[in-house]
Symmetry: C2
Subunit: 402 residues, 2 copies
Amino acid sequence: MLIVKKFGGSSVANKDRIFNVAKRCIEDYRAGHDVVVVLSAMGDTTDELIALANTINPDAKKRELDMLLTTGEQVSVSLMAMAMQALDVPAVSLNAFQVMMHSTSRYGNARFKRVDTERIMHELDSRKIVIVTGFQGVNKYDDITTLGRGGSDTTAVALAAVLHADKCEIYTDVDGVFTADPRVVKTAKKLDAVTYDEMLELASLGAKVLHNRSVEMAKKYNVELVVRSSLNRSEGTVVKEGSNMEKLLVTGVAADKDTVRISVIGLEDKPGTAFAVFNTLAANNINVDIILQSVGREGTKDISFTVASEDLQHAIEVLNANKERLTIQDITWNEKVAKLSIVGAGMMSNPGVAAKMFESLYNSRVNINMISTSEIRITVLIPEEDIEKAMNAVHDGFGLGA
Amino acid sequence: MLIVKKFGGSSVANKDRIFNVAKRCIEDYRAGHDVVVVLSAMGDTTDELIALANTINPDAKKRELDMLLTTGEQVSVSLMAMAMQALDVPAVSLNAFQVMMHSTSRYGNARFKRVDTERIMHELDSRKIVIVTGFQGVNKYDDITTLGRGGSDTTAVALAAVLHADKCEIYTDVDGVFTADPRVVKTAKKLDAVTYDEMLELASLGAKVLHNRSVEMAKKYNVELVVRSSLNRSEGTVVKEGSNMEKLLVTGVAADKDTVRISVIGLEDKPGTAFAVFNTLAANNINVDIILQSVGREGTKDISFTVASEDLQHAIEVLNANKERLTIQDITWNEKVAKLSIVGAGMMSNPGVAAKMFESLYNSRVNINMISTSEIRITVLIPEEDIEKAMNAVHDGFGLGA
């Protein structure tokens, strides 16, 4: 069996943890399996390197930042190889150049285009554990790129896909994917399995267990993922194609506080005004999430929408700069809001789910500002102060508790 | 003009020094020159990484150690590029993979085989300052190698050679090459120029200004080197072919305390016994320096030789293990010795130099244990406690003082 195992930065943060990971990998190796290990940089290394770069040049070119950051994973993989060698197991570390992880050119946020297998297969054939730097690629200029935060998950999935791995295990510091954040919802239960689509919705809604792009790639190449803890032997959560599993009505509840509602008021009520607003925002790389249009006073219309908190200032600037052209009379915003979502592949065929969610919120006296839905997700915007109460109410309402 | 400038770890140890180096390079760039910069790892990074590796595995494979250590230079070059960009100068950092610095396979002590120029020339053509990682290469397996301590000097010379640079400047924390270590000999004078051969002798005798292999390579490819300070504007010392320069009788005085004398006593006085001793040592990778053979008691012979201090224990073990076969009756050693050398290209045609040296030592009551000479060097082994007195005496004797 060929197993790809990915460990995050906290799993390799110090000597003891490095040896802990080494031993776990060696168990599989000694059982006769081929083992490929993908590692992130140790502990807070990436943040420390970013801070170092900022002292030199806060506007450093992303190419140079990638050149700097990728040293972090190279340190972890070489130390891991040394640890395995200390345990008398042949191991070899490889960086993105050595594997040839071809990526797009975009520094800081590259995507894999093609991953060569020759070197890894050669090392596996000589019965070595192969340890690969996560998070990094090489573009067509032979320059080093990074995949953006959490990119090591994507490295693991990409390798699992091209190597036709039998398993791709993503190790983290939680036991798997939960019905809700266990720190907020005490009755939250670990899920045995979720579909790719559910995982995608959960990931994009604030469940920080898996990097979103890695799930997209796993879905595309049908790589079965297991999310599990590096700290214990818990079985974890399997992420796989939905057709193979019992479809739960609702799989999980997720919350996202990093959102803000913006309202543009008094737009001319004629075709194209809404389009012009969102077109202007998109041209400035501002992603808009939930949208609500309502009738305003005296033949005008109002539009409310949410953006990520970090985009608020930029969005306001852009809207102000185009106020006249967009026929906006006034701009208001509210930062004290949060998104609450329920996700479940079974939702598609069950029309009563939304009503059930709204009932739970009503019973807890939580006011709903906006609503947005997808095939397997319902999201509501509520006051930020109510988010924990609301999460618990909805979690209980659907009987997700352990 | 194409200029290669190499800066050591202490020159890039912190933010201020990085900007200091950046500004010096930018001066040449703004004057219209093409500038290639070679950097070592920041400050004590290499030592810290070695210490880190030792906590994981003191017997780590050198391949993995090289993978680890080479991150140090990658950090310096990316930070330097950021610093130059902060000063509004286009700059790009390149590692050994990106330049393609082909080396032999020997990890920890590789040598360059071939260095590609295409990428560097391309970046220079687009008027960028090119910053290259020193100390590292890539072998035929696509694995990262290091050149051994001080290898960044060699990187600079190799690049100067293949790029046909007009200048190769080696920046250090001293003003250049001196007639003797200025910390020991107060009257020591900076030399304006030395020949490659003189520099080689001085380097191998303890003058730690230049990596020996870099001087060999500079000689082979006729790369004119300038050794100068990164801390001031002093002109430095030119290292070049001897034919172009006035030959000084004696160029400099060097001392080396890291030496120990070993004596093997009572060998059978027949052909081949000395050969057997040195053959055995060589087979165990122990380099022998000065050798002295003398007649022992009762038809036997004694042989004394010097080895580096770090090899003492190993040498004694090897000799003891082969005592019978080598017909050794007794082994003694003395760690309290030091080598004193004078070097000068003019020595070859001046037979009185040795006598002058011995006279200076005699006048200072310094006892000579052993003597060794080359065409441009005379070395004596003396008691370690006399080394500073002896250096000053010889330095004065040849009138080398400022």
